[in-house]
Amino acid sequence: MLGLGNTLSGGIVPAAATSSFANEKSLAFDGSNDYMEADGGTSMTLDECSYALWIKTNSNASQIPFMLHNTFYFYLTSVGAHVYPFVKCPFAQKQGTIGLTDDEWHFITVTLAGGSGVESTAKIYVDGSLDVSITATVAYTVVTNQDLKLARYDNDAGSYAAIYMNGNMDEVAIWKDTVLDADAVAALYNSGTPIDLSSDSGNYDNSGDLTHWWRMGDGDTFPSIDDNAGSYDFTMTNMAEADLEDEVPSA
């Protein structure tokens, strides 16, 4: 935070900026039944928005990092030796082209622009670059007041298709009602090193629009994962303290 400091002569000068951002933890999900959900009574509504997360997996089995509803999720779909990014939203679904089963960190950003009955576009960015895009005009019911889950698929009926996440996740964020542009996404990727999402940096000028930000271990105490931009706190479910790992993306 920038502040003001006093000089010995009594004049006021800008204090030196201090960087409190450090990324030292991520969460490891074992692919069997680990997941995160919010405390009871918390729900979320998303339509036009952007969301982003860092993921790392060595598995080619289908996985689900981010799921709000069975019409609104980010999935890793199994095709041969790899999983590929797959976005589903109320107006479209689309599979990406980049295989992610390489045990390396990848930065995923999904942007959803438009709305019910108007031309809408979904984009998947991988490592700061646009992978796929789909545009459609569809009238739909906005996904409202749903229980966001990380690392587990859960459908409306309360049963589930038993898809989980097998790998690490870090720095999960949502910008509600905001569509990040391509240069902001590239700035967030930062050549492979996460940045402080709460501060504008380079072409990332959307810090004021950040709605939710889970650091996935940094500053958290097991089993709680705090929302650093809002109040949507998660609980690590069926997990152990050892799942908070010193394994993070870094260029």
Binding site: S32, T235, N238, A240
Partner: protein, 78 residues
């Protein structure tokens, strides 16, 4: 992550009442993952086997993922 010390034990759904959740990683009976026909579930632990699981077959991480990837436990969503 490597899960060298993590073990998984499949139990019948009817045995859930015997689980001591302070000795396994599962949060509660309400968060267990069941087989698609709801007849089986499993618990996991790091380190020594909890006494209430003595005599049951334990699986490694890779073994349990192979089991869970089968049609008794998983269905695709697309």
């Amino acid at each position: 992550m490597a899960y060298e010390n993590r073990k998984y034990v499949i139990i019948n759904a009817s045995e859930v009442g015997t689980v001591d959740f302070s000795q396994v990683n599962e949060t509660s009976a309400n968060t267990l993952r069941y087989s698609l026909d709801n007849s089986k579930t499993f618990v996991k632990f790091d380190g020594d086997t909890p006494s209430f699981l003595d005599g049951k077959t334990s699986y490694t991480h890779s073994q349990i993922l192979t089991i869970l990837d089968g049609e008794d436990w998983t269905e695709e969503i697309e």
